[in-house]
Amino acid sequence: MSDSEPVIILKEVDKFFGDFQALSKINLIVNKGERIVVCGPSGSGKSTMIRCINRLEQHNAGQIIVGGHELTDQVKDIDAVRREVGMVFQSFNLFPHLTIIDNLMLAPRLVRKTPKPEAREKAMSMLERVRIPEQAEKYPSQLSGGQQQRVAIARALCMNPEIMLFDEPTSALDPEMINEVLDVMTDLAKEGMTMICVTHEMGFARSVADAVVFMDEGEIVERNKPEEFFNNPQHERTKLFLSQILAH
């Protein structure tokens, strides 16, 4: 497979919530192995856009093609896409009634029908990858926010996704826990994972991203390499946004 093989294609995508247009004519192509950071003011449609990619939201117009499957009402295609796409949420969303290891094993066992010993082995190796194997038998409520988010990343990885979506993964964390999560994400990026990451961690964007996408009012205003994006923003709205978040 060549490096410029597109794995996510959004073409003229519109999304409405009632009368409110959350996305308008979104065009985005993400190639295999590319790391995209999406930023923009709150309410600009960042989360909605990545939630459309694994069909947590349905788009109203346009086309979304993920790993060769077009997202329509066909359950088969939705399942196929969800098998290839892992997602990490702002609020972790670990299953509170299951231990960490059971959180990791649930989907592989139910969806992939992986036998228990194999699922367990995979889960342990993923916990090692996010550096918390010693927490395997605990419940989510016994872990810190940073640990919970790393478990959430490990849980998504247990399904062997080709693509990872991150929806503000560090926004709910105390400041001292942000780096442990970003470290894990940086490791993933180095290993060649295709990633779309909604975040305001500009240090992460600079060091890891291949491209930064800036959204405002449901539109993609600008897409550029991080260097260019930060040093030489093209649009007024981008400049304003950067001046606001980089003010301190």
């Binding site: 069909r55 969800r82 299953f95 989907a107 399904m159």
Partner: protein, 229 residues
């Protein structure tokens, strides 16, 4: 005073002759009611109006009317209809016991289905989204995520309803059944000592309530083990 205490103690064994029937009514209608409640809940949340509407009408009727009327309609009312007397239902409805079970089951089923719905609605939407994102089907999400969490959320209200059902069983004494209340009324008719007889009866109900509370307390503790640090 000594006489009263003697009477209270003496009436207890007689009232306890009805304990078996009281417990039978409680367990049978409790279990059947729970099964009915789960069915009605699934209808109610199915999103299909053909299922949702009958469920809502059933809940409205049985929550919205006194249980004593429900018992009377089932016991005295239904036998008026010849087609019921000729149907297979008659084997159940011919006996006051069957009528009692049916009335209590229908009544508790309506309440419990709403209690369970409260639990289902209390499940954080984000958890179901996480399940979807991991590729879990709607059925898997319901069984492995919604159900265990909803059950824990519903336990306090459900235990309340079981206690309420236990007390409602006393009403079947009005349709000739000899539960504890039925026996207490016999003892009262013989002794004309309402204070003593009904005090004994109250104490027995309180003991049963205590056992139910304790059992649900333990169950709740077990279902909440993931929350304790």
């Amino acid at each position: 005073m000594g006489e009263s205490v003697d009477l209270i103690i003496e009436s207890i064994p007689q009232i306890l002759m009805g304990l078996g029937l009281t417990l039978e009514l409680l367990f049978l209608s409790g279990i059947l009611g729970l099964m009915l409640a789960i069915t009605v809940l699934l209808m109610r949340i199915s999103g299909n109006p053909l299922l949702t509407w009958p469920a809502m009408i059933y809940i409205y009727i049985f929550r919205g009317t006194p249980i004593l009327i429900q018992i009377f309609i089932i016991y005295y009312g239904l036998s008026q209809f010849e087609w019921i007397r000729e149907s297979i239902l008659w084997t159940l409805l011919r006996e006051p016991f069957g009528c009692g079970i049916l009335a209590l089951t229908l009544n508790t089923g309506a309440y419990v289905s709403e209690i369970l719905r409260g639990g289902v609605l209390g499940v954080d939407r984000g958890l179901l989204e996480a399940g979807s994102a991991l590729g879990l089907s709607k059925r898997h999400r319901f069984i492995y995520i919604t159900t265990p969490i909803a059950v824990r959320l519903a336990i306090p209200a459900y235990s309340n309803d079981v206690i309420s059902l236990m007390k409602s069983t006393a009403l079947v004494s009005t349709i000739t059944l000899l539960d504890m209340m039925g026996y207490a009324r016999i003892v009262y008719a013989e002794t004309y000592a309402p204070y003593e007889v009904f005090t004994s009866l109250m104490v027995i109900y309180l003991i049963i309530t205590w056992i139910i509370q304790r059992a649900f307390g333990l169950f709740e503790k077990r279902m909440s083990r993931h929350i304790r640090k």
